[in-house]
């Protein structure tokens, strides 16, 4: 499904996921356009994270007519690591760094195609992977400076504050040089100043590095002011789709969030 002049980075059609009788995701369709910051919002329990899990391969869709295309390539039923290798990487709602490893090591795990990561060459080709490693270290330093957490480069990940951990999680993904970032609540539990800072960084990423971002967020202020395209999920279904101002005026969305009957509003 290609509309005129639009290139879709991610095209997830008819995603279904049932947990027993609960319809967590019930035929949701989301298309992430290239060059736009797309947000997925919805009340608690509307299936946002489950939707993420399905498109990144952690869960399987329950129906056969599901189509998940990433850059025109079918990624349905692929294991999560293969999807990540194709350039679509994600964060988790609860930040999951590698706690007992240093910030620099956390960053260095991410790059793809590391020579030293093969069992054989990791042992035998030490001079060679050191050259590659030097490149990764430079890249890691640059990204940490960009995220303004380069002063904690030698600390353990578990020693960082919550906000720094969120930034580190984003930094880890950037090391993999992705083309699409899926961010699951990047500013949840972060104070407004830092939240704005994180979003400034995300916008910079999009504009300067050409990385597309698809995010889940509850903080309406930042979502409405920063995103270009919004999908609203409720009870596993997409109930609205459009630009921020349209979504803000949409009665169905308000009803879903405030629990009111759309006809009364």
């Amino acid at each position: 499904m290609k509309e005129e002049g639009k290139i879709y980075e991610l095209n997830a059609k008819n995603v279904y996921k049932y947990f027993g009788g609960v319809k967590a995701v019930d035929g949701a369709t989301v298309m992430v356009e290239k060059g736009k910051l797309t947000a997925l919002i919805g009340p608690n329990g509307s299936g946002k994270s489950t939707f993420y899990n399905v498109i990144t391969g952690f869960l399987q869709s329950d129906k056969d007519d599901t189509k998940i295309l990433f850059r025109e390539e079918n990624i349905k039923n692929l294991p999560p690591e293969s999807i990540a290798k194709k350039g679509m990487v994600r964060t988790f709602q609860h930040t999951r760094n590698f706690p007992k490893m240093t910030v620099l090591e956390n960053m260095l795990i991410s790059p793809q195609n590391q020579i030293g990561e093969s069992m054989f060459w990791g042992l035998l080709a030490r001079p060679l992977w050191k050259v590659q490693e030097a490149k990764f270290v430079r890249r890691a330093k640059e990204i940490l400076e960009f995220l303004e957490i380069d002063h904690v480069i030698n600390h353990l990940a578990e020693e960082l504050s919550g906000g720094q951990q969120k930034l580190l999680a984003i930094g880890r993904l950037l090391m993999a040089q992705p083309s699409l970032l899926l961010l699951d609540e990047p500013v949840a539990g972060v104070n407004p100043t830092l939240a704005n800072k994180i979003f400034d960084r995300i916008i910079e990423l999009k504009e300067e590095r050409g990385i597309d971002v698809f995010l889940i967020e509850h903080n309406m202020d930042v979502v409405m002011s920063f995103s270009d395209d919004i999908y609203v999920l409720a009870d596993g279904k997409v109930i609205a789709h459009g630009e921020p101002d349209k979504i803000q005026e949409n009665k169905i969305v308000l009803a879903a969030y405030l629990g009111e009957n759309p006809d009364d509003a």
């Binding site: 999951r96 590698f98 490893m101 240093t102 795990i109 590391q114 001079p127 060679l128 050191k130 050259v131």
Partner: protein, 536 residues
């Protein structure tokens, strides 16, 4: 260095004395009683050097096995409770290959046996892990412990596997010498002196060369430390080579053990230098040169008086001495591989999986693939060590592979420090000396409940020191799990030095310093150096 990053992340924090020297205090408080047990047979029971050498051979082999277990438990986070099964497979395949007289490509029965042991053990690791790796960690533990027991029971009842009595294993070191030949040859002043001069010149010149090289990129102390490490690494390999030649010469009754001792002492000296560098802040290298001069004086004195340990004839049994050196070499090889893995991106990926497997998946690491590779590597090395374990046992039977062996190895890893190779070696020294030493002490009378040599109050009971040692080990384990689960030497958490160097290193330098080896390697791996060193 305009952009200096703090090397030590605790630099700004004032630590309490107990916290700062925690490892040292724990290590000393445990090693003093163990040392007492180790020396007791010599001081009061008249045991000879043979006891020392045998004990250390056991220590080295168990340390090597514990190191491979550390790869599974410490790096990968996989609780393999069936370690004994793989040790058994390795030992049995070596023994069976020897009994059958296998000799591929004419490389000799011993080498063939070693290769067979490594291949069979590695392959059996794959077979066991294919169905079990998808299981959760606790189920993996249950399956492996059962696998170990099944294997032992099968070997016990299967005639083709030797049955209850097992196989005899020939020890090739013991075959080359007559068992009780003692070393004389202490009048080899000339040969020893050459070694002394050669090693000193080699060590110092390597040190000076590397220090000047590192001085461009690092501060003085760091450059000195790295130079010493570099110098040591080369000396170790040269030393091993020389000891091997000496071993071949002993056969012709030409060289002596004092030669070996010199090489080992030299290496220990350089190793202590590396620690001493921490305390020297002066820009001069007086510490290094001073120690070298001291060493030369010490060497000349000892040479002029004969052997370092005993003037005149030594009563060191050469077969045991060389077998101990061999097992030490085996341990060093395993340790070297483990350190290489720990500092390589491969080991980093393994540790990442241990920390958070879901997160590792989400950035494209294949859990199954990496775990499988880690297990294969660990099992191949286990097979290698197990072949030597079979040699030291001289007769292998199912009774030698009780589950107790697995738990001994676990205790070594936990007490020493999970994930820290040096700690694991220290743990094996403690536990293995305790067990071997108390075996030796089985004639000593100890009465409980007061653990005295005589029954003071008349109601005491005799207790076997060996059984007492097992109880002590068990209690120690419980205490450690509660109060210090990370062990005596916790895993290094600021292991950034490797990458820290890279922060300063320019890519041109890295390429130019190793031009030839890089060219060959890039051909082998089939990558473009320009491409991997430059950002697109």
């Amino acid at each position: 260095m305009d952009e200096k990053i703090l090397l030590d992340r605790d630099m700004n924090v004032e630590l309490r004395f107990v916290d700062k020297y925690r490892s040292l205090i724990l290590a000393i408080s445990f090693s003093v009683p163990v040392l007492w047990i180790f020396l007791y047979p010599v001081l009061f029971m008249g045991s000879g050097t043979r006891y020392f050498l045998d004990t250390f051979a056991f220590v080295f082999l168990f340390a090597a096995m514990a190191l491979t277990l550390n790869l599974e438990v410490g790096y990968l986070g996989l609780p393999n409770f069936g370690k004994v099964a793989f040790v058994m497979i390795g030992a049995y395949s070596y023994a069976m290959s020897n009994v059958a007289g296998l000799n591929i490509f004419g490389i000799g029965e011993i080498l063939t046996g070693l290769i067979v042991a490594m291949l069979v053990t590695g392959f059996s690791g794959v077979i066991l892990s294919l169905p079990t790796l998808k299981l959760r960690e606790d189920y993996f533990a249950i399956v492996t412990i059962v696998a170990g027991e099944i294997l032992r029971l099968v070997a016990n009842n299967e005639e083709r596997l030797g049955g209850f009595s097992g196989f005899p294993v020939t020890n090739f070191v013991f075959e080359e010498f007559s068992p009780d030949m003692t070393m004389s040859g202490t009048n080899l002043f000339f040969l020893d002196f050459i070694v002394l001069i050669f090693f000193t010149i080699l060590g110092v010149s390597l040190y000076v060369y590397n220090k000047n090289k590192f001085n461009n990129n690092f501060d003085v102390i760091k450059a000195r430390k790295m130079a010493i490490q570099k110098s040591m690494n080369i000396q170790v390999w040269v030393g091993l080579l020389l000891i091997y030649f000496n071993y071949k010469l002993v056969y012709q009754e030409f060289a002596s053990i004092s030669f070996d001792v010199f090489i080992i002492v030299q290496l220990i000296l350089w190793y202590t230098l590396k620690f001493l560098i921490n305390f020297s802040s002066d820009k001069n290298d007086y510490l290094v040169y001073g120690s070298v001069i001291l060493y030369i004086i010490f060497g000349i004195i000892s040479l002029s008086t004969g052997d370092i340990l005993n003037p005149g004839d030594t009563n060191i049994n050469n077969t045991n001495w060389y077998f101990m050196l061999l097992t030490g070499g085996v341990m060093y090889v395993v340790y070297y591989v483990m350190e290489l893995i720990y500092h390589s991106p491969f080991g980093r990926a393994l540790r990442a999986i241990r920390e958070d497997d879901t997160s590792a998946l989400s950035i494209g690491k294949s859990l199954f693939g990496l775990r499988l590779r880690g297990l294969i590597l660990s099992n191949v090395l286990t097979g290698f060590v197990a072949a030597f374990y079979a040699m030291i046992l001289s007769n292998i039977s199912p009774q030698a592979f009780l589950p107790l062996l697995t738990f001994q190895l676990y205790i070594m890893v936990i007490v020493g420090g999970t994930g820290n190779n040096k700690g694991v070696i220290f743990g094996s020294v403690l536990i293995q000396i305790l067990i071997q030493g108390t075996r030796r002490l089985s004639d000593v009378k100890i009465y409980y409940p007061f653990f005295t040599n005589e029954d003071i109050f008349g109601f005491g009971r005799l207790v076997n020191p060996f059984n007492l040692a097992l109880i002590i080990v068990g209690v120690t384990l419980i205490i450690f799990l509660i109060y210090a689960p990370e062990g005596i030497f916790p895993e290094k958490r600021d292991n950034n030095e490797e990458y820290q160097d890279l922060l300063y290193l320019l890519d041109d330098e890295a390429i130019n310093s190793n031009k030839l080896s890089l060219k060959i390697l890039s051909k082998l791996v089939n990558v473009d150096i320009k491409k991997i060193s430059m950002e697109e």
